[in-house]
């Protein structure tokens, strides 16, 4: 995980530990985020992602370990640290009774902007996040996506050096999610360092250059997105027969073909496809030739790298998220947090 020396780290976490009663929410987390990059912190619900973000934003005190953000220590320099960060949580941290404009103006004033600057900056941010038309409406009446955008705008008012995005698109529809992604990408182009937690593999893939996979408060894997994928396995060839009824016959034909990789052909009944490990480019031609020689119609053929879901499965031996249970775990987390 060590990078070239000339890359400065905006976030450095060493051996961070946080207990809530008997639960170890963070069990010795190490990670770093290079300046101007996006680190994706990937993990199922209850893995400790939110606890990590809360510790790095001075909302909770870690029990052990150190963390420096923008050069400031979370324990000894919380005030300076707060000047350098922006936080967008899972739940929009805006005042629902205030209008979009009033929310941003208030944040500007709290960040010591003059009245005039706070007004101007609020206007700019509303425009940038396409909220100008809704500026005067209470944030409580905003759609989920608008509220999230307002939240991002609020986090950006003070030009934070480091931005934490804690599951920024959880609960958003695909279109709104894309809007948020575009916004995050734009912030990074403008030089922000981002620590993004997510349980969506696609999101991490879209936004992050590097990934840290955490589970039960521990880092279980880390590295560049493509490195992680390479670690887990190679490309797969996926074929969809024109006639879904021929799926099992096609699997049988492949299994007996004796070509490279065809012995590993496995059907996916629900998707109506058969997949096999792809070992060489020649194999692709050979397999297509064999199938057409035997008279199979092919509706679709494609190759793909393992998804991060598969990566997670390979690393932890468990599925990345089982929503119902984990929801409870996360809530439990929050409650314990409140009690502590």
């Amino acid at each position: 995980m060590t990078r070239k020396d000339n890359d400065r780290n905006a976030v450095e976490v060493r051996g961070l530990v946080k207990h809530f009663g008997a639960t170890k929410a963070l069990d010795g987390v190490d990670l770093e985020v290079r300046e101007g990059t996006v680190l994706g912190v990937l993990g199922p619900n209850g893995a400790g992602k939110t606890t990590l973000v809360r510790a790095l934003s001075t909302l909770i005190r870690p029990d052990a370990g150190t963390a420096r953000v923008a050069g400031y220590d979370v324990l000894t320099q919380p005030r300076q640290l707060r000047r350098a960060i922006g936080l967008t949580g899972q739940y929009a941290s805006v005042d629902e009774k205030l209008s979009g404009y009033e929310n941003l103006y208030m944040i500007g004033r709290l960040l010591d902007l003059s009245r005039k600057d706070a007004r101007r900056r609020a206007g700019e941010m509303l425009e940038r996040f396409s909220l100008t038309e809704a500026a005067k409406r209470p944030a409580g009446q905003y759609s989920g996506g608008m509220r999230r955008r307002l939240d991002l705008a609020a986090s950006m008012i003070g030009h934070p050096a480091v931005l934490y995005l804690d599951e920024p698109t959880t609960g958003l529809d695909p279109r709104t999610r894309n809007e948020v992604w575009e916004e995050v990408q734009r912030m990074v182009t403008e030089g922000a360092t981002v620590l993004l937690t997510t349980q969506y593999m696609e999101e991490a893939e879209q936004l992050a250059q590097e990934l840290t996979v955490i589970d039960r408060g521990r880092v279980i894997a880390g590295g560049r997105v493509d490195e992680l994928k390479a670690k887990v396995g190679g490309r797969t060839l996926v074929i969809r027969p024109a006639d879904p009824g021929e799926l099992s016959r096609m699997v049988g034909a492949l299994a007996q073909a004796g070509l490279d990789g065809t012995a590993g052909a496995t059907p996916d009944e629900t998707a109506g496809t058969v997949s096999l490990p792809l070992l060489s480019d020649e194999q692709l031609t050979a397999v297509i030739g064999m199938l057409s020689a035997r008279g199979f119609g092919i509706a679709d053929i494609g190759t793909h790298l393992p998804s991060l879901d598969e990566v997670f499965l390979a690393i932890t031996g468990q599925k990345a998220s089982a929503p119902a249970d984990d929801q409870a775990a996360e809530q439990n987390d929050a409650l314990q947090g409140a009690a502590a």
Binding site: Q77, R83, V94, H159, A338
Partner: protein
């Protein structure tokens, strides 16, 4: 577009704080102002939240004057009771309004916006102080309505307008100190309902075991003893003597002592609690 925005905002960078990151007095006042503005806008958005401050004084003064007034002061002497009751109700308004602060703070914590405040470079006490500033404003409105109602049904000032203002100021000071207790409760208990429940348990004996509604001379000795040290009695007596004339020094000093005592003990506890809350 992007570049244009970036260059335009370059000048709007927040002023750098001092090296230590400490928050100066002027910055602190600015933050309290911004947060108080937030609390006021919330009321504007949700006018029902003013119902207690507006309606309570009206209902209480009418109810007590006409239901109990006759029994306490004698039938047909309700008007005389008004001059006894209004200063007492002034003491009570503060208590009731400040109770709402506890449930308000508790509710606030359920929302993400508190997380934002606590990750910003502001003194954490400013969130609480702003709340108190606005609530004192609400108390002032409630008290004004009470006085207007009082004048309408026969309240007359025996002393001077200055004395009256003194009584109002005293009840604000005491009410503000009570707010710290309720903030502490609001930060400690889990739900707003629990805060309300506990607050009622405290409120009822303090309100009725006092000289707010009726002179204490006819109460049993042990209760009379309790009322003597009940700060609400002190405040009611102080306001009464300020408006109707009479010795004020003892009761005024008692109220001020209580106010300072309560604030000194509970304000630091509340701020600490606020800081530690996760």
């Amino acid at each position: 577009m992007t570049t244009a925005t970036t260059t335009a905002t370059a000048g709007a960078r927040p002023r750098a704080g001092s090296g230590e990151g400490r928050i100066g007095l002027r910055a602190n006042l600015r933050h309290i102002g911004a947060l108080a503005r937030r609390n006021m806008l919330q009321i504007k958005q949700d006018p029902e939240s003013m119902f207690d401050a507006v309606l309570m004084p009206i209902i209480f003064i009418l109810l007590f004057t006409y239901v109990f007034g006759g029994s306490i002061a004698g039938k047909g002497h309700e008007k005389e009771y008004v001059n006894y009751l209004v200063p007492g109700l002034m003491a009570m308004m503060g208590m009731n309004i400040s109770m709402a602060v506890g449930t308000g703070i508790n509710d606030d914590f359920k929302k993400g916006v508190m997380d934002r405040f606590r990750t910003m470079p502001i003194a954490r006490s400013s969130v609480l102080v702003a709340k108190i500033v606005v609530e004192v404003g609400r108390m002032l409105i409630a008290t004004s309505i009470l006085l207007v109602m009082g004048f309408a049904i026969g309240l007359h000032i025996e002393t001077s307008v200055l004395h009256l203002l003194g009584a109002v100021a005293l009840s604000m000071v005491f009410g503000a100190s009570l707010m710290w207790i309720f903030i502490l409760l609001g930060l400690t208990l889990r739900t707003a309902q629990a805060v309300q429940g506990v607050a009622m348990l405290v409120l009822m004996p303090l309100q009725f075991g006092s000289s707010i509604f009726t002179p204490t001379a006819n109460m049993p000795g042990w209760l009379e003893g309790f009322t003597k040290y009940n700060p609400l009695s002190n405040l009611a007596d102080a306001a009464r003597h300020l408006i109707n004339g009479g010795p004020v020094a003892h009761s005024v000093w008692m109220v001020l002592a209580w106010s300072v005592g309560i604030t000194v003990v509970t304000a630091p506890l509340a701020v600490t609690r606020f800081r530690r809350k996760t």
